[in-house]
């Protein structure tokens, strides 16, 4: 990530600024969702937007995720660029037909004639003590579907640049925000910029092991890299930033360089993002690897409420450190 003197924004502030800039730039961009207008969402990510753009463009909807997501698909096909807000990532289950059978397939089924330039913003991530239906990380579901793009920013800088690209994209894009990161601060330049979808970012250079991490797991992986540094292991941390399109080359090149790789993601490891990325690395860097590619994801349980139980389900800097040091023969 480039260095910037001066301004810092929170993750939520970066998202709000991306939306505001795109709405000023393009009158077709509108926001639809539950409590997105005056309430600015329960996380206050959208505060102030209805005051600037009005309730015609920042539209409060009933609690009808399937209905307003479906409406957004049709609106995107016919001249608008809707950004749908699904309050909790757990609620994407209610949008699945609209996203998987409609949004993802319209362009292909019509032989390339209709397009669906929409964004679905939602959250992921546990550890808010919210229980099993407000804590899941289900981004793998959408990553599985041809026709969708899936974005997982890990910093305020990335969130802003990636969201602007998502809004300008001609395809349906699903944008996952870890709700634990909304207050995270980071440098964001005042000047206009975008980040292309499908380009990984090396968050930390290293030589001994590659840690591929997504969303808030990037911050956790960076913390574990500092711990590894203290025992003489140099970790490279790579954030793919989008699970599709996936920057396979950057992941493979890093693994070739370090000969070891761990993939960390807050979704379930089984049949999940870690499985796919580990497979990409195993196939692409096979002859360079000194150890099997390891995966760390959420435990295969519904997210429990009780704090010590919930904390046990999520990858931590300690768990990454332990797997990495073992992989490097240090334990």
């Amino acid at each position: 990530m480039p260095e910037f003197a001066g301004r810092e924004l929170t993750f939520a502030g970066a998202i709000r600024e991306a939306l505001a800039e795109e709405m000023r730039r393009d009158s077709r961009v509108c926001i639809l969702g539950e409590d997105v207008a005056e309430a600015g969402t329960p996380f206050k990510v959208l505060s102030g937007l209805v005051e600037e753009f009005g309730s015609e463009r920042v539209v409060d909807t009933p609690i009808s995720e399937a209905g307003f997501t479906g409406l957004a698909v049709g609106a995107a096909m016919t001249g608008l660029r809707p950004v749908v807000d699904i309050m909790f990532g757990d609620f994407i289950t209610l949008t699945m037909d609209q996203m998987v059978n409609q949004a993802a397939k319209v362009h292909y089924m019509s032989g390339g004639k209709w397009k669906v330039p929409m964004v679905l913003r939602t959250t992921l991530g546990a550890s808010r003590r919210s229980g099993a239906q407000h804590s899941q990380s289900l981004h793998a579901w959408f990553s599985h579907i041809p026709g969708l793009k899936v974005v997982l920013p890990s910093t305020p800088y990335d969130a802003k640049g990636l969201l602007k690209s998502a809004i300008r994209d001609e395809n349906p894009v699903v944008f996952f925000e870890d709700k634990m990161m909304y207050k995270l601060k980071g440098p964001v330049p005042v000047e206009e910029y975008t980040i292309p979808l499908g380009v990984a970012d090396i968050k930390r250079q290293g030589d001994d092991i590659t840690i591929v991490a997504t969303s808030s797991m990037v911050q956790v992986a960076l913390a574990s890299a500092e711990m590894l540094d203290k025992i003489g292991v140099s970790a490279e941390v790579i954030d793919p930033r989008t699970t599709w399109p996936l920057d396979e080359r950057t992941l493979i090149e890093s693994a070739k360089k370090t000969s070891r790789a761990i993939v960390v993601d807050e979704g379930y490891a089984r049949y999940g993002v870690t499985a796919e990325i580990a497979s990409v690395i195993a196939e692409g860097a096979f002859h360079y690897l000194d150890a099997p590619v390891k995966r760390i994801g959420a435990m295969h349980v519904p997210i429990p409420f009780s704090p010590p139980l919930e904390d046990a389900t999520v990858p931590s800097d300690r768990s990454i450190f332990e797997v990495a040091s073992a992989l490097c023969g240090r334990s």
Binding site: G67, G70, G74, M77, Q102, M109, G111, P117
Partner: protein, 332 residues
């Protein structure tokens, strides 16, 4: 006269040409579907198709009330809607056969014909799958102020899907120019609709404050008159409408559903075909009004038969897509 030309401003008070145009369109659908059956029986068409035969007056009566730039969404039983909105039989047959010249370059097939040039947002193989899309098109029309109306066709089977009620609520809250057209052909696949549908159908829309009307879906004049009024009402900004059209599916759920005794009788089918046929009802009325005679209808029939024959020949001889096209158009 071509099948797609000559559209005039719609109105309940229409001239002979207009009824003839609707007759031609209904007959085009009827003869199109006959050929689909033939292509299926002769194993020329891959997959299956769900025929619109018997329901022609609904699509034609409604679409005659629309402008060329108005939107429709359609269903798995969608050939009639596509043709009524102005699609050409030749490119439709090509799509049904999976050919490059098809409306979707062979990627959609019978259940997914879409055509921006006629405002067709696409046929949809998920029951109630397009209700969100149609409502969204109406949302755009209102926001962009382009005066367009969206019509959402669906069968009574879609009444079982919750998303329909979500979008009707949204449409009424936002006063969107959308008309939900429920084609009750009496059978939800292989089950009489009375076994799947509780209570009163239009009352479901009325509960949202949506204007709801019920018409005889076999009488194209009745369909058209009510559809025109509701469409113009929506166009003027007075909100969504729900139009229940009582109709009948002459054939099975799809072309392969030929043994239907376990869910309905041959006598029932015969009664509808003889007494409630939309083509006979319109031609009978026109003859009684001295607007047309048998010779005119015969002439129209041979003309359309010829067009359909040419269209089938075009599709059969058209090339398939290149295999390399398989991963094109996944992303725009």
């Amino acid at each position: 006269m071509t099948l797609t030309a000559g559209r005039t401003k719609a109105g309940p008070d229409v001239a002979v040409e207009k009824w003839l145009r609707m007759y031609r369109r209904m007959l085009t659908i009827r003869l199109f579907e006959e050929q689909v059956t033939d292509l299926y029986t002769r194993a020329i068409m891959p997959g299956l198709a769900h025929l619109y035969t018997g329901e022609e007056a609904v699509a034609v009566g409604v679409c005659e009330a629309l402008r060329p730039d108005d939107y429709i969404t359609s269903t798995h039983r969608g050939h009639g809607h596509c043709l009524a909105k102005g699609a050409s039989p030749d490119r439709m047959f090509a799509e049904l056969l999976g050919k490059e010249a098809g409306y979707c370059r062979g990627k959609g097939g019978s259940m997914h014909i879409a055509d921006p040039s006629t405002g067709n947002l696409g046929a949809n193989a998920i029951v109630a799958g397009s209700v969100g899309i149609a409502t969204g098109a109406a949302f755009s029309a209102k926001r962009l102020g382009n005066g367009r109306v969206a019509v959402c066709f669906f069968g009574e089977g879609a009444l079982g899907q919750g998303v329909l009620y979500e979008v009707m609520n949204l449409a009424q809250l936002f006063k969107l120019p959308v008309m939900y057209v429920c084609e009750n052909n009496l059978y939800t696949e292989y089950t009489p609709y009375t076994e799947t549908t509780a209570g009163d159908i239009p009352a479901r829309a009325v509960a949202f404050g949506i204007r709801a009307e019920t018409v005889d879906g076999q009488d194209v004049r009745a369909v058209h008159a009510t559809a025109f009024e509701l469409v113009e009402r929506a166009r003027k900004g007075n909100g969504p409408a729900f139009l229940l059209c009582n109709t009948y599916r002459y054939g099975g759920h799809h072309v392969g559903d030929i043994s239907r005794d376990y869910y309905r009788s041959k006598e029932e089918e015969k009664k509808w075909m003889e007494e409630r046929d939309p083509l006979k009802i319109l031609s009978g009325w026109m003859a009684a009004q001295n607007m047309a005679d048998a010779a005119l209808f015969d002439g129209i029939e041979s003309e359309i038969k010829e067009e359909i024959k040419t269209a089938v020949e075009f599709a059969v001889s058209a090339p398939y897509p290149r295999p390399g096209e398989v991963d094109e158009d996944v992303y725009a």
